[in-house]
Amino acid sequence: MAISKEAYQALEAIVGKEYISADPVVCEGYRSGPGGYECGLGYERVMTKIPGGIIMPKTTQEVQKIVKACNRHKVPYVPYSTGWYGPRSHCHVDDELLVDLKRMDGFEIDDKHLYATVESGVIYSQLQEEAMKRGCYIIVGGGGSQCSAIANMLGDGWSPLSYRIGLPHRRILGTELVLPDGELVKMGSLATDDKDYFWGEGPGPDLRGLLRGFTGLRGCLGIVTKMAIKLLPFQPERLKPSGISPHTTLELPVKRVKWINFTMPSKDSMKQAMFEMAKAEIGGGVTKVPIFWRAIAKANCKEDFWDIWSQESEESIANFHLLRVLLIAFTCEEQMEYEEKILNEIITELGGEARRTRPSDESWFKNADSAGMWLMCGSYVSVDYVIETLEHAIPHGENYAKLKPKYTPPLMPDYGDPGWFQSFELGHQGYSEFLVYWDPDVDTNGVDFFYLETSKENIRKRFYTSLLGPHQPLYLTGPAYGPNYHTWLLKVKDEFDPQFICHPPVPLAHDAFVEKAEWMRPMKDWESPEIPGS
C-alpha cells in the first residue's frame, strides 16, 4: 500500500510535479539511518520507516494546503527541515508523507530592530553570517551550524554563548504555525499585523507555549513555517574566515573578541569562577571544556583521537579542569581591558592559570562543531542535556558518570568524565550535557538501556531534564513532572490533531518503542494504556 493515488494527485496539484515524488529511490534517500544523531540504535531501527512520499512546498500557503489535504485523505506526515536531528524527525509509520521544507528559504533582516525573519530552510551559519555582517550575532545551537534555525530554535538553541544570549525561548519573536489540522496561527505582532514579525508575545496569553515545551515536540504539533529570531548586538570588527579545510577557522579581532583557556585547580573552582564572573557581569561565554573535546580538536583523524585518548585515565580526567572563557567588548575596546583584568583577578583568586589560547574560533560562532562528535566512534547521542542552575548541572553530570560504567561497553570508555557544564543567562542558570558514543557496528542494546535508565535516574534523583515529551516514554516521565504534564500535552495534541496524523505516534513514540522492542520490554516498570503504533 502506498499513498493513495487520489491523495497523491491532490498533493501534486499543490506543489507541481517537480516537487513531489513517491519514487522508491528518492524515498530511500530520506532514510533516517544507519548513520546520524541517535542512529543505529534501537529507536531508529524499530521506529523509523522510509517515507511513502516526499513533498517540497515553497510557501506557508502550500504547507497549509498540504496539511489539509493530509487531513482529508488521512495521510500521516512529518515536517523535515534538514533531517539532522536523527530518527525522531523522520517518518515513523508506513506510507507517511515527508514534508521537506528546504525550499522555504525566505529571509529578511532588520538589524536596526535586531531581528531576522527566516523560513524553515534557512540554516544557522547563513543567519549568523548575515547577522555578523551587520554587527549582530546569534547563538548557533550546539546541534551545529547546519541546523535549520527554526528547527533548532524549537528544540534546542543554546551554546556556550548562552551565558549572554540565554534561554532560547526568549529569542523567538513573531511566528507562523500551521496547526496539525491545517489552521494557521500567527503569534506575537503577526497576530494583528501579518507583515510585522518584530514582537513575540501575545496578544494576551502567549501561544508560543505551543512551540517548544523546553526541547520541542519534534513536529507533532504542527509545522512552523516562518519565525523571527532575535539578533543580539555584537561588536563592529570582522571575524575573518581563514585556512583551508579541514583547518578552517575564524580569526578573532582580539581587541574585541577573545577566547581564553584557563587550567583550574578543581571542579569547584570552575563553578566559583562562573559564579564570580556572573557576579561581576563580565564575559560573553564561559564553559567547562570536557577533555575529549580537546582530543577531538587536536586529532587529525579517528586514529589520532584514540592515540590521544588512550593516554588518559580516571586520574587524568578527574584532575583535568579546563575553563574556557569568551570575552566580547560590546561597547568599546576599553571594555576588553576592563573585563580581562577582572577575569584574571578572579582566576588568580581561585588558583587558576591562563594557557596560551589561539586567537581564533573553530567551534562556536559560525561552525558549532557538532559533526566532529562522530569522529571517534561513528555514533553519538546526548542522553541528557538540561538548563537549570549551576548547582543542578554539576551533580547531574556526576550522576550519569556513576551510572555509565554499567553500560560500558558498548559505550565508549571515558574514564568517568562527568560531562559538560557551563553558566547560562549571566549565572541565573546553568547547563549540563552528557554525551555518549559507542561503536555502532556491535550490539548496541546497552545504549538503548542507558538512554532510558537516565530518564529513570532523573526521576529518582529529582533532576530536571530536557528529555521529556517525545524524547522518553511519556507515561514514564509524565506522572513524575508537573505532575502529569503528559495529560495536558495529550489533551492539546488531541485537540489540534484529532486524526493523529501529524508525525504519529509522537509524542508517544518512545512509549511505542519500548513496547515494540523485545529487549526493551523488561525495562518497562510503569503504567500506561495501549500505545498507538506499538
Binding site: 529511490v25 542512529c39 534538514t82 539532522w84 547563513q126 548575515e130 579545510s245 579541514p246 578552517t248 557496528d441
Partner: protein, 429 residues
C-alpha cells in the same frame, strides 16, 4: 565491510560499506564550509543537491541509496541512474565531509558507478557513445584521430626528445585548440623544450568517471607505458580533468602510488608558477582586466596524489595501518592566483565560493554529455557569482570549464569573457 579487511578499491562497493553507513546527514557535503558561509546567497557547493533538491541527490541521499544497493534492496531504475550520474564528482562533498570525519565519499560515488556498470545498468547511453568514440577513434568526440595534432601552430616545433611531455588532451586538441596553442607558446617563450606523445590517445577521464573501470584501466596501462617509453620526466597538462586522471585515477586503477608512475604529473599553472618564481619567465605585458579565478575541481579539491591502501578496520571503526586521507587541503589553489597577481594590469577579485568551496562548472566527468541542461544550469549559477563581484572575465584551468562557461555566456547574452589561464599568461608574455 564494517569490520575486517578493507581496501581503498573502488571496484568493490563493499569496501565502502562503512563510509556509506556512517554518513550523519550533516549536509556539510552540500553547504559551503560554515566558517566561510557567505550568508543567504551562494551558500552551497554541491550542484546536484542544489539543482535537484531532493535529499537523494546529495551525498547523504546517495550514501543511503548505496547502502540499499549493497544490501540488494534497491532495484535499478531511470531515477536511480539519474541520481548516480547527474553529478560531476566534483569532490565538494568529499572535502566537506572530511572537514570533520574520515569518510570516503568521493570514492564511494565512484564505486557506485562502477557497480552500476558491472551490473549491466550503467553508464548512461550518452556515455556509451563516448566510450565507442574512444575505442574507435581514441578521442571522446569521435573526430578523426589523424587530426589530433592539427592544433599545432606553425611557429612551434615540439622536440623529438625532451624532459617535458605535453599531454594535450581531447578538448584542447579538437574543440579548444587555443588552449593547446597558448600552452605550446608559453613553453616556447620560456625556452622549455617539450615533446608530444608519439600517438596520443584519450586519457579516459570520462570512461573512468562513469564507472567503466576496466576500459579505463586498459587505457591507463597503455598510456602510462607510452609515456614511460618516451623517457619523459614530467608530464605536463593544461586540462584539469586530464591532470586528475593521470595523477590520481591512473595510479588508482593500476594500484600504484602517484610517485610510482615514473614521471611527475604537472599542470601548466604549477609549471609556470615555478618559472615565474625562479625568474625564468617574466610576465611584463599589461593585461588590463578585472577578472576572477574559478578553481577547476580536478585541479583543486581532487588533485592530491594517490597512494593505494589496504588494511583492517576494527574497534570503533579505526583502520590500520594508519591512513593519511586526502582531504583537499593541498590542492593546487595558490599557484594560479600567484600567476594572475604577477601580471601587470590584472585585477584579481575572488568569487564568494573559492578554493575548496568552489561551485563546480557542471561539465566534467561525463555530466555534460548526459545532462546538458544540468551542466548549463551549473555554469549559469557560477556566472551569477562573477556578476555579483562585478568581474569582467572568468579564468579557469580546464577546457571543460571554459567551454561550459562560454556556452552559458553566449546562450544568455552575458557580457562576461571566458578564458583559460594559458591565454592570459600568453597575453602577458
Amino acid at each position: 565491510m564494517l569490520k575486517g579487511k578493507v581496501k581503498l578499491d573502488v571496484t568493490d562497493l563493499d569496501n565502502f560499506e562503512y563510509d556509506m553507513s556512517k554518513c550523519i546527514k550533516c549536509k556539510g557535503c552540500t553547504w559551503v564550509d560554515h566558517i566561510y558561509m557567505p550568508g543567504m546567497t551562494f551558500s552551497t557547493r554541491c550542484p546536484s543537491a542544489t539543482k535537484y533538491l531532493f535529499d537523494s541527490y546529495g551525498a547523504y541521499g546517495k550514501m543511503r541509496i548505496g547502502t540499499a544497493m549493497l544490501e540488494g534492496r534497491m532495484e535499478y531504475s531511470d531515477e536511480l541512474l539519474k541520481i548516480l550520474y547527474a553529478c560531476t564528482l566534483c569532490g565538494a562533498c568529499d572535502v566537506g565531509c572530511k572537514r570533520n570525519l574520515d569518510l570516503e565519499i568521493e570514492l564511494t560515488l565512484e564505486a557506485l558507478r562502477i557497480k552500476a556498470v558491472k551490473d549491466g545498468k550503467g553508464p548512461m547511453p550518452q556515455h556509451k557513445k563516448v566510450a565507442q568514440h574512444i575505442a574507435e577513434k581514441h578521442n571522446r568526440l569521435g573526430s578523426p584521430h589523424a587530426n589530433r595534432n592539427k592544433w599545432l601552430p606553425k611557429d612551434v616545433k615540439p622536440a623529438e626528445k625532451a624532459d617535458v611531455l605535453y599531454f594535450v588532451g581531447c578538448s584542447a586538441a579538437y574543440t579548444s585548440p587555443e588552449i593547446a596553442q597558448a600552452t605550446a607558446k608559453i613553453l616556447k617563450a620560456s625556452k622549455t623544450p617539450f615533446m608530444l606523445m608519439p600517438d596520443e590517445w584519450c586519457c579516459g577521464n570520462i570512461l573512468y568517471s562513469v564507472g567503466m573501470a576496466d576500459e579505463a584501466r586498459e587505457l591507463a596501462k597503455r598510456n602510462v607505458e607510452e609515456v614511460r617509453k618516451t623517457g619523459a620526466k614530467t608530464l605536463l597538462l593544461s586540462c584539469a580533468e586530464g591532470y586528475r586522471m593521470w595523477k590520481v585515477d591512473y595510479p588508482k586503477l593500476l594500484n600504484i602510488s602517484t610517485d610510482e608512475l615514473g614521471f611527475k604529473v604537472v599542470h601548466l599553472v604549477e609549471f609556470v608558477d615555478e618559472l615565474i618564481k625562479n625568474g625564468s619567465l617574466k610576465l611584463k605585458k599589461k593585461v588590463n582586466l578585472r577578472l576572477t579565478y574559478h578553481d577547476s575541481c580536478s585541479l583543486s579539491r581532487l588533485s592530491e596524489p594517490w597512494t593505494p591502501w589496504e588494511g583492517e578496520r576494527g574497534e570503533w571503526g579505526m583502520v590500520s595501518p594508519r591512513l593519511e586521507r586526502r582531504r583537499g587541503t593541498n590542492g593546487v589553489y595558490q599557484q594560479p592566483r600567484d600567476i594572475l597577481q604577477a601580471i601587470p594590469g590584472v585585477e584579481l577579485v575572488e568569487m564568494i565560493r573559492m578554493k575548496e568551496n568552489a561551485f563546480c562548472c557542471g561539465a566534467g566527468r561525463g555530466t555534460r554529455e548526459a545532462f546538458p541542461d544540468f551542466a548549463s544550469w551549473a555554469a549559469k549559477e557560477r556566472l551569477q557569482e562573477v556578476k555579483a563581484i562585478e568581474a569582467k572575465a572568468i579564468v579557469a584551468t580546464c577546457p571543460f570549464c571554459k567551454e561550459n562557461f562560454a556556452q552559458a555566456v553566449s546562450k544568455d547574452g552575458e557580457k562576461i569573457k571566458v578564458f583559460d589561464i594559458s591565454e592570459i599568461i600568453l597575453a602577458a608574455i
